[in-house]
Subunit: 248 residues, 2 copies
């Protein structure tokens, strides 16, 4: 179980190569990353607020989300994570977790110990830079979500989220044209956007009625990409992808 899995690190390398350029040496070092691979069921916490984890979690397959509960029991989802992401990479340098990580679907994840990660970063500063950059992009995504929630009405807010997820999935090769898997429920969308399930439903109805999207089952199909981008005031710079081509 605890071993090197070159084929599993492929998704990590693909993700990193969507945001920067790796040398052969770096690619080899990353391929050799030892991790413990675990299969998880849906709706299962991987780490929780207050934990002091000694390892971080690479998503190999499935979707997860980072979230936090308020004192009166409401949930804010901070990000949806897709294969290639390391959602709790922050815990490498922040001892106590200030948010939780949960699966949305059945997932396969690879746990990498902080010891291994930190040693690798120390020895190869360029790799530290790559991971650092990844956490900075997470930060940029948080800022953009904050902007959406704070300033955009529910319709553009929803459109923005759909655009972002599509671009990110495309960047790691998990889309088919402008179609992708969408295992996220309306309740989860609501907790991400700061609106109620009922309202999520109405907004989605409206988008469907206008022919922008086709969302049913666990499949999202964007029928009018340009229009949706415009509706969502979506501008992908903040994702800091290497090829803007991937975005457009």
């Amino acid at each position: 179980m605890d071993a090197t899995h070159p084929f599993t690190t492929a998704i990590l390398i693909r993700k990193l190569e969507s945001i920067l350029t790796l040398t052969d040496e770096e690619r080899q070092a990353l391929e050799a990353l030892p991790m413990q691979i675990v299969a998880l069921k849906e709706n299962q916490d991987i780490v929780r607020v207050g934990d002091r984890p000694s390892r971080s979690c690479l998503i190999l397959s499935g979707f997860t989300c980072m979230y936090k509960m308020t004192g009166d029991g409401k949930r804010q989802i901070h990000n949806f994570n897709i294969p290639g992401d390391i959602p709790d990479l922050q815990s490498l340098h922040l001892q106590v977790l200030d948010n939780s990580l949960s699966t949305l679907t059945p997932c396969s994840v690879g746990f990498i110990t902080h010891e291994v990660l930190d040693k690798l970063c120390e020895r190869q500063y360029r790799i530290a830079r790559a991971f650092w950059r990844e956490t900075l992009i997470d930060g940029a995504i948080f800022r953009e979500w904050m902007t959406s929630i704070g300033q955009r009405e529910s319709y553009p807010r929803m459109a923005h989220l759909l655009c972002e997820m599509m671009v990110r999935l495309r960047a790691v090769g998990l889309s088919d044209g402008y179609s992708c898997k969408w295992p996220i429920t309306q309740a989860e969308i609501g907790d991400a956007l700061g609106i109620t399930t009922v309202h999520v439903n109405r907004v989605l109805q409206e988008m469907r009625a206008e022919g922008l999207i086709d969302l049913k089952g666990d499949r999202l199909n964007i029928l009018a990409w340009e229009k949706l981008m415009q509706a969502g005031d979506f501008e992908p710079t903040y994702l800091h992808l290497k090829h803007e081509a991937t975005a457009a």
Copy 2:
């Protein structure tokens, strides 16, 4: 102008020591950081969306904020920055800025080139870790703000902000009991919390009426710290301060 200023780096060291422990060697390296010191007027952009800066900006005195405009001209403020902060440290590893940085008051700032920073980080990985940690805490603050904006109503949202700023100012020694400078206008608070100026005003009135705060001129006085924390559902873990003592 471009020289070493041990007395100016003191605020940076104080900030870093509020979130981690520095060795003598590290402290010396930081003290010797060469920077270009510049005095700025209020309401002046330091860097803007789309810029590709070759240096980052240490706040020596005054307040700044990071913000972003939406397509239809609304502004979301992502963070208020106080002395000791390096708001655009992210630009060290993200070439294109996805948000802007502006002064709120007259400021003294120190520009440190990315070349200097990056070389220092490469040579002393422990310092890289310190700066990395700092950017991770910024991320944690973004998440917390997102939670506030998405899930808390305007009254607790405001209370939360006041608590956070007080704790952060205390951590770098810029408070006097539960009293601190508050040069932030109601319009700026509104853009940070995602509510209108009018509503900010009403909420503040309410807090005054309940004897929680005394806010006038550019001075904030928290009269009932415990009550305000409770009202704001404020729990300072996410600031990752070394001494929780500083917070309580």
